[in-house]
Point group: D2
Chain length 346, copies 4
């Protein structure tokens, strides 16, 4: 078993890491790290558990360590806020830890991959660039913004058709804002048509994630994206409406076949957190739905539906959905770590 | 006072007609008409009231008439289902009634206007064509699908810039499906990404509504629209995300000025149900919101916000919202009737 | 017109004061007071408006004053947090202001009334005791906790039957917790069966409010109450389930007649904020409902329903509902001020 | 493996049976039975799946049988509406099937048990009485109304203290009403304080379930219960507030110890669907919560919290919660069937 530490263990994403790692065949949690306020307390006292049930008795009894603790585990999952992640993750990588991070702090750094293994497992090679450039023995691997996840998963099998442009409107779950996050007085019986900083991320991250590894950096996919991000009264699961124009003519069958047959590159298929079918195209008229589809593939699959021609783009439109705190956050980080183990980078 | 009858008085839209007409300065309800099942009962027993409060004591005590009753009022508001409206509204028009209808049955008939007075009050002239063509003394005027309403209101002031193409993603309230309508087990903690028949309406109706009166018919606006319609857990208020390409270069100031200064053609301004400002552009980052903005202008205004450039359309994107059962249904029908009165067509 | 100042004007209850006072026939807002953080800004910049629409342009442009400002208005409405109210309200009363407070700070002070005029208008006389005791020219009048309001309104007409004991289970709206208040991640698809400090208030306040003025204090009603308070996913409107045992045998007709005929003592009936019928008994099987009944009497009425015998209490059980931020907060304070004006205490 | 048939397989509870039986170590579904309308179709076409995900491919492909089919499986789970269950279940029992029913049709029949094994496994003996009385080789075993489940589970360990009287207020999830069930227009942002027929069930069923087997019938527990049932915007999980008076003095420690140590009689502990700890007392101030606690013990546990003295009852008050379609419906029926297998009654 490989020891792991969780940074930001008391927050909403930290809790999801703990929940998902319970019973993991390779990883076991040995250290929980959080801010000064929580440090020194038992986890059960430090964390206000927002998920179903509660942590295991073993986790509940663990003492929370401060951010400046001398962490032992080589593998570190980070659920830190971006502002804190900036400093702490760098120090961790310097000190020899491999950080699989959910924070946005380093996503756009040239030598850091935004890893979503089914789409770009080979980007993990950038860890070697980091080690050379910064003389680290550790490294940093990020996962994407939670809304980029369904976009990238739906587009990964379609890259071969030439993705020229895409319009994206998201309907995002409240858990994407963390805890306490969205006040109920704001969101009940309502839609909030704005999420700070989200649209620029959605217009940029997928281009890097779908890009090509070019030695010491990623060549971004040459495409243009336009995003509108909204918040809806849904607990988990980000839904995106996508209209896309391809470089070449593509048929409905081509697209569905591309999704149905997609499994991602080696060594992804078969990893503990890799869903058997990463992209599930549902033929029902009214899918994907966040509540009914977010647990597909244990929350790691992207569910797609409603493929129809788009007369405005001269291409196609469809909807895609993925679980924002599993596939779009903690679960993806765990799969990223599995890739690092399997490729010898950890 | 002008007597009015309400067809389909017991349903959700029928109730909204009753609620909105209470205290109307010109119109008073004298007949309530509904299906056989309800006919002969007092309204309070026949209708399961779904809005706040309840009907006035006077309305509650009125006897519900059957669909084949000899309706006395010349002005008739129809909240009938499309299938029944097809036959009943025609008979009513033949019998000399002026039907202001919320049903979709005749929206696409060449000689029937889809009236949204701020955008196209002059289309009411088609009633004369009906009278000549069918030898009616009455007539039929429809209002649009509830989702077309915010689209047409937002676009009406922008026609002068040349609307070449538009991408629309809607987030629609549950009241749009009537009562009992959407099961709570379907929509709670969920989004349903499909509404039967809605997308074709949204891609067509606005083109007619924004078109030009050409003698005995409407020349549709020459534009292409692509729609995705979803249902969200919101009681009232349909929100649409719109990306649009214009024929000519337009600035942010041009667009906002067009909305701010828009009042619609005579005789609309000053009518009882005409909102003082039909389109309200809000500068806050997070508006429009269904719950906070649906009552703007007593539910008759369209609230617009978040104007930004759209890199994919090479134009602009924004969000618009209007109350679906007021502006998008009963309220618009009442305003339509006011226009007919004011222009001597009733 | 009487000038009024609002303390805590930027919070959720402060906003409700502003909304309700718009167009009030006697009162006009001349000063808005809030914490240091907001002071000096225009109200539109200082307040994050959580209600529908927005404040009037006039209010939006007013400069927010700091808590230590030299307030001019004699009449002051307080929406301050209890901890701050403790000091500020006392100073205000000392300085000659009459404070109509929504805060809990002085509710249990012997010489301070918890005024709900239909039930206990005569308690306002305690202001004279305050003036004598503290040598104030001003005074403090509180309104009750928002959940005590429907309990006291439903019980006020029944005091004559001898209320021996009552079991109360509340289902409270999220607006009762202020803004940001209840995180959506806590309450969506959920009930929270605990509200800090609420149950002791509900077991005590009604006994004072339903008690008898005895010179310089209130003799509490001799009864025992047991409360369980829960939070439900409802925006506005607190619903309470009540089982009660009376000292003497009472019939269903007695109880309903008592509610139906209840108007409260002089000078309440006819005051601007006094609802025509304070307690509305609805005979439908499924009322009262928060969403459908909270606006009864402009939010100032208490709606009661489902009266049935209680085999355990040997008495009766029923449900009662009132709008928590109108009748249970700002609206009640305004009615309290009207009573003070009418009785010459202001 | 024991073959099982599901009656009413296409409805909401029928779907839950299918979901819960997937992977059951003893039972395998071999027949799906539903109304004429569904018969002859593949299950995937006949059922509108309302739970997460969907049925397995194998189930989805099974042909739905009509109600008058010659069912082969000896063990039959019934999710039929009460009106249909009345006839069909009797015929099934006559024909030699053992019916584990979720319907209310026979709950009050003298020779039929309302089985909740942890509380009354020995009531299963009534099946022998049925066989003798009706000359059946099969039999009927019911489970309780979904709201009686948490009441009976919380009370079972407390019977020894003498339950004299109880006040119960329920907050019930929408899934309790089946599909389509509660219209979203009724329940969103609302509480409905009435559920047809529910209160009498809640005042009666627990007395039978907690009663003593007396030869050919059950002696009801000698206690009085008063119920108020409400519907709240929650998907799954019925929460009940209970105030209870005991025959003898009991301490907080006594009560919690009774819950903590409760496992139910043989042969329940260790059965596949028996939760390791049937009643879980949580010490946090704000539990049980439907969303966070409904999956405790795989949905088969009852979670209790907030034990405090009740000054009105002179006893105690607390809250209890159980998953209404698992513990309160399909899951309990499955556990009932396991008891029948283990005791040789099947």
């Amino acid at each position: 078993m490989i020891d792991v530490a969780i940074l930001g263990a008391t927050g909403a994403v930290g809790q999801r890491f703990i929940q998902l790692l319970e019973g993991h065949p390779w990883f076991r949690i040995t250290e929980l790290v959080a801010s000064e306020r929580s440090a020194g307390q038992a986890y059960r006292d430090a964390a206000r558990w927002v998920l179903s049930g509660g942590p295991s008795d073993e986790i509940a009894a663990m003492e929370v360590l401060p951010l400046d603790a001398d962490v032992q585990a080589k593998l570190v999952f980070s659920a830190l806020p971006a502002s804190i992640a900036k400093e702490v993750e760098w120090q961790m990588a310097e000190a020899g830890h491999v950080v699989c991070s959910n924070a946005s702090a380093y996503r756009m750094a040239e030598e850091v991959p935004i890893l979503l293994p089914e789409a770009n497992a080979e980007h993990a090679e950038l860890v070697k660039v980091q080690r050379e450039k910064h003389r680290w023995s550790g490294g940093i691997v990020t996962n994407s913004n939670c809304t980029s996840a369904p976009v990238v998963m739906a587009f990964a099998p379609l890259r071969k058709f030439g993705i020229e442009a895409a319009q994206i409107v998201s309907q995002q779950a409240i858990s994407g804002a963390g805890y306490p996050g969205v006040p109920s007085l704001d969101i009940m019986d309502n839609v909030i048509p704005y999420i700070g900083g989200e649209e620029p991320k959605l217009e940029t991250e997928p281009r890097k994630m779908l890009g090509a590894l070019a030695g010491d950096h990623i060549d971004f996919l040459d495409t243009v994206m336009s995003a509108t991000c909204t918040r809806v009264p849904v607990l988990d699961g980000h839904l995106v409406s996508i209209s896309v124009r391809f470089a070449e003519p593509v048929s409905e069958e081509d697209l569905i076949a591309a999704w149905d047959s997609f499994v991602g590159p080696d060594p992804v298929p078969g990893l503990p957190f890799a869903p058997p079918q990463p992209v599930i195209y549902r033929r029902e008229l009214d899918r994907p739905q966040p509540r009914k589809d977010r647990d597909a593939g244990n929350g790691m699959a992207c569910v797609v539906g409603r493929l129809r021609p788009c007369p405005v783009m001269g291409g196609w439109k469809f909807l895609a959905m993925a679980h924002n705190t599993v596939r779009g956050a903690a679960g993806c980080s765990i799969l990223n770590a599995e890739v690092l183990v399997e490729t010898g980078l950890l």
